[in-house]
Symmetry: C2
Subunit: 288 residues, 2 copies
């Protein structure tokens, strides 16, 4: 007989829905008050099917929340200079309040240069170095959407972070690194593990909070979860499989995010929320 | 009978001397070739005796290395706006290649705003958010001097970092946070401990590499050092006492930095080296 689940589920889908509802209300009020609708520009290079799907979904969610979207589709052969110019034009355009550059952009493009062309005040996806530094030092600015969504989930479930050991598995520029910095800013003891870590299992076993962001299906085994730990699965692998062995982990964790319905919906909710926030700061009503 | 020391000393003073010699040669060659001497601007607010001493020492080391220094002394009552304006003027001044704002600047000043007024290409002390992001993502830019000095020491002693567990004790914006990011960039598994960490001892005991940057005398006890670990003491407390109990730790470590003569001299060497590098990039010879 296998052990019964002990973990409470962290309902990202439900929390995201409430955030998006509030965001939609705010977008509507802003549009009424200023005559300008918040606008997110999406930029897609090439026609990678997953990227096409992601962008389409994000645009649909914008529309539903009363956020206008403007889509820039660029051919796969776009150069770095052309992409930077396109993003730069959006950064200059007063009608655009937020910019989302769908990534990956293709190996021939300098992705960092393209990200840096996003004006920090329009970086609602939190991908610029300015946003990373803001997250790292607790300065004003936008957060990377998945890390931001994770923090909102942890807060919603009253997870005490101060002095707890948070282990981040993965160190990408838009997920692992920034979520570690946000956790550190909340007084957690933070460990970054990654592909070169010698004994990930031994580290994860010590974690009070695990953030799995490695992109390998069921990489975190149930037996590696410390009893009572909080498990956040930011992985999303083919077949709706997370980075955590959910069924096994939920018999040991105190709180756990499901996949799907955990971190994923929170990511989009933060994107929409930050877009409306950028618009609220960026729209100057007529006569002002 | 107490155990014999096992650790080899990391001779920061000696390595720093060699770096400064090369830097001085490079400064002289640059001055000969361009007719312009590399110049570091130092900015000091108020008359805190320790800060006055630090700035004086840094200027003397500049002069000895053939780097001109220009000193801006501002009264303790300087406002944030006044300091930002002073730093901004130096950022604009083509005769100035590097800028060092001595900190702390006093509680009434927004230190971050003052740091951000330093043009990234003159941020030879590595204090801007742009420099932090560059360190975090392995992008071109200057490093914070003490973290940069620590990495050079580790490299000089051929410390293998990939997959090793590096524990950083302390999370300041110019030491703990950036050195952790540099170690992560070199494929170490990195843990940040700090004042809110529940059991620092338990974490430090697992470290293959310890970086002590907490500012508390002998905070790391010898018994907490894993046998064979590499111990870097970036602490500097009154009476030339480090953050590590040196005599006890050297009986267990494989490599250890003394205090003084370890990390301290490396910090200044990196400052001088980066100033000449900034000058080499920033000086445009007549007619070019």
């Amino acid at each position: 007989m296998s052990p019964a689940p002990t973990a409470r589920l962290m309902d990202g889908a439900g929390l995201a829905r409430r955030i998006v509802e509030r965001t939609a209300e705010r977008a509507a009020a802003l549009t009424r008050r200023t005559g300008t609708q918040p606008c997110l520009a999406t930029v897609l290079v090439g026609d990678d099917p997953a990227s096409v799907t992601y962008v389409r979904m994000k645009r649909a969610r914008c529309e539903k929340a009363g956020i206008r979207s403007r889509h820039i589709a660029l051919p796969a052969a776009t150069t770095t200079a052309e992409l930077v110019a396109a993003v730069d034009a959006l950064s200059q355009d007063p009608q655009v309040h937020g910019i989302l550059l769908q990534h990956p952009v293709g190996p021939h493009i300098d992705e960092r240069a393209a990200f840096e062309a996003i004006a920090p005040e329009k970086d609602v996806d939190g991908v610029t170095t300015a946003s990373f530094a803001a997250m790292s030092f607790g300065l004003p600015g936008f957060v990377s959407c998945t890390p931001g969504g994770i923090m909102r989930l942890l807060d919603h479930y009253d997870v005490d972070l101060a002095g707890r050991h948070a282990v981040v598995v993965g160190r990408s520029a838009i997920l692992g690194r920034p979520v570690g910095m946000l956790l550190l800013g909340r007084d957690a003891t933070v460990t970054y593990c990654h592909s070169r870590t010698r004994d990930v299992t031994a580290v994860v076993r010590q974690a009070d909070v695990v953030v799995a962001a490695v992109g390998r299906p069921r990489f975190i085994r149930g037996e590696d979860v410390k009893p009572g730990a909080v498990v956040v699965d930011a992985g999303y692998n083919p077949g709706n499989i997370g980075d955590v062995d959910f069924e096994a982990a939920r018999t040991r964790a105190s709180l756990i995010t499901p996949v799907p319905g955990g971190v994923g919906p929170m990511t989009i909710a933060v994107l929409l929320d930050q877009t409306v926030e950028a618009a609220a700061r960026g729209i100057h009503p007529p006569g002002v």
